[in-house]
């Protein structure tokens, strides 16, 4: 089902109506039925995979929980030595169960997502046609819900919370339609708990949710889709224009990605809000970040937190990492002992983050360029501080903050040349052209918006200004205040403008996924 369609809106309306018509204690069943139906529209095999993988994780977590409960019941009557032995045995058992469950679910995900990538790499060294590519079904949203499942299993392994004992409740959490295709990544102790609570209908909630949905559709269908047309036009004939066009295209690509991804999140968060459920926020004004490291704590937050909790921390906090730290301390001093374990963990995290996005070397390169920038800022933090002090730059001055924000935005847009290009070769060609000259050529703004009409250019500029303004107000914590104080006439006027803009300007090339960029991951 295309999210950017009237059919989807009708589906949402039907779900909301049914949800609030049934008694509160049964409402989760409406969500389960709706989510499975929604997922079925992409094909039955998708659902089969979802059910099998969720069953494996559900029973794996349950087995660990059973072992933990058994230990808890018996430990009171044991002496210290026996307790220690039993605790060790429990740890081993849980490790074994979690490893089996993770190996199956993660293994299948890796095979489905990376087989053709591996074949293409092997074929590069083979003569002739090489190995034939496979055409397996790639279940939609698999990269999102597989990681949700793994996170749940690891949390139960770590005794963060108890395992769910009702499979249908668990399936409701995994398949919840606002988060299954494109995230946000959720935690069972948050979303699972909310799905168990009884939610009452609220008119205010309905209006707030509907407004957010409308804002999301505007960002996606007007800003992102129109920018996509312009960027594609510039990239397809960039050598015929001065390099300034290409710079403009990659700067605008950052806004396209932002409008596309946050647009989807706004639509899904708006739907959840109407249902009384709060999805985890995936963005916190990322383009107001002052460093690349900060940017990655504000952009796709739930993915970053997933990698932090389940990859970065375990890699930086194990006996090997401590040995590395001790070695670094004795050979190179305290600073090296502090940074080296993080650098090693970052190497794996950014490689995995790149590959998580897409099985393509360009994403690995993109990940490592991000990593190098973060490492550079960590390594030279003291030097930068000294330079700032020598130049008498005040950290809280408006000029310095603006400089840092613009610098970070430009850096992030630059790094995206690798992920936003068709291949690494194409990215190198773009970079060569960027530095070949003709960068500082004065071009009227209207000419930069290639392929777009003046009215489309105006609506994009207004849309971007609105996005930035909303972020600034949110950053200052003034958003709710401004929204409440906004006169009814002005508020309705803005909403009407959004609707009219969608009617007049929407019409990008949307596929079954609604053309959302992150849905293909």
């Amino acid at each position: 089902m295309n999210v950017a369609s009237f059919l989807f809106l009708f589906f949402v309306a039907a779900v909301v109506f049914a949800y609030y018509c049934v008694p509160p204690r049964h409402r989760w069943l409406v969500l389960l039925a709706a989510s499975i139906f929604f997922y079925c529209t992409y094909g039955i095999p998708h659902v089969a995979y979802l059910i099998i993988s969720s069953l494996i994780i559900f029973f794996g977590a349950l087995a660990m929980q059973k072992a933990s409960s058994q230990y808890a019941n018996e430990s009171a009557s044991l002496d210290k030595q026996e307790k220690k032995q039993r605790k060790e045995a429990l740890k081993k058992k849980k490790k074994k169960i979690s490893r089996i469950a993770i190996a199956i679910v993660l293994g299948v995900w890796i095979v489905l997502k990376y087989t053709n990538f591996m074949i293409s790499n092997i074929n590069a060294f083979l003569p002739g046609d090489g190995i034939s590519y496979v055409s397996w079904i790639m279940p939609l949203g698999i990269s999102f819900y597989t990681f949700d499942l793994l996170g749940y299993l690891i949390d139960v392994y770590r005794d963060k919370y108890e395992a769910e004992t009702d499979y249908l409740r668990f399936l409701t959490y995994v398949s919840f339609f606002p988060h299954i295709i494109q995230g946000p990544f959720s935690r069972y102790d948050d979303l699972g708990r909310q799905l168990k609570q009884e939610h009452r209908f609220s008119y205010d909630q309905l209006m707030e949710g509907a407004t957010r949905i409308l804002w999301g559709f505007f960002k996606k269908l007007v800003v992102a889709d129109k920018l996509a047309v312009m960027i594609a036009a510039i990239k397809s004939s960039y050598t015929e224009r001065p390099a300034v066009f290409l710079v403009f295209a990659f700067l605008m690509y950052s806004f396209q990605l932002y409008a596309d991804f946050t647009g989807y999140m706004d639509i899904m968060s708006g739907i959840s809000h109407i249902l009384g459920i709060k999805l985890a926020e995936n963005f916190r004004q990322p383009y107001l970040s002052k460093t690349v490291d900060e940017f990655w704590r504000r952009w796709h937050i739930t993915l970053g937190e997933w990698f932090r909790d389940y990859v970065f921390y375990p890699l930086s906090m194990n006996s090997m990492a401590y040995k590395v730290a001790n070695y670094a301390r004795s050979h190179w001093g305290n600073k090296a002992a502090k940074l080296l374990p993080s650098y090693i963990a970052l190497f794996f995290v950014w490689g995995a983050t790149g590959l998580w996005h897409e099985a393509d070397w360009k994403y690995v390169l993109w990940g490592y360029v991000n990593m190098l920038i973060i490492m550079y800022s960590m390594q030279f933090a003291d030097t930068h501080l000294k330079i700032r002090q020598r130049l008498h730059i005040k950290e809280d001055s408006l000029f310095w903050n603006l400089f840092c924000i613009v610098r970070t935005f430009v850096l992030i847009s630059f790094v995206r040349i690798f992920s936003g290009s068709e291949s690494i070769t194409a990215a190198i060609s773009y970079l060569r052209y960027l530095f070949s000259g003709s960068l500082f050529v004065a071009v009227p703004l209207s000419e930069l918006f290639v392929e777009l009409k003046t009215s489309e250019m105006i609506v994009i500029i207004v849309g971007i200004i609105m996005m930035i303004a909303a972020d600034i107000w949110n950053e200052k914590g003034q958003w709710n205040d401004i929204r409440q104080k906004c006169p009814m006439l002005l508020r309705n006027g803005i909403l009407a403008m959004l609707i009219i803009s969608i009617i007049l300007f929407a019409g990008g090339e949307n596929d079954l996924l609604g053309g959302f960029m992150y849905a293909r991951f």
């Binding site: 963060k160 932090r308 906090m317 502090k338 374990p341 963990a345």
Partner: protein, 76 residues
């Protein structure tokens, strides 16, 4: 406790660890700071803080972290 404050201040000299009680809740410490603090604490106090201990309630203040260290030392 003084030794712990000294370790934490060495890593983040801009934070007053004597008074701060929302180090995690207010994002004052990032993941790199936490890793650095854990590494130093493990080294100086001869304990092993593991991933399961990385809960906001253990890292929101120096005193909470000190309680965790004492607990781990007792378990040993």
């Amino acid at each position: 406790m003084d030794q712990l404050i000294e370790i934490m201040s060495r890593i983040r000299p801009d934070i007053d660890f004597m008074t701060a009680t929302t180090l995690i809740d207010d994002d004052l410490l990032d993941s790199f700071d936490i890793i650095a603090i854990v590494g130093e604490v493990n080294h100086e106090f001869d304990v092993e803080i593991n991933v399961n201990d990385l809960l906001p309630e253990n890292f929101n203040s120096a005193s909470a972290l000190y309680e965790l260290i004492k607990k781990l030392q007792e378990e040993d």
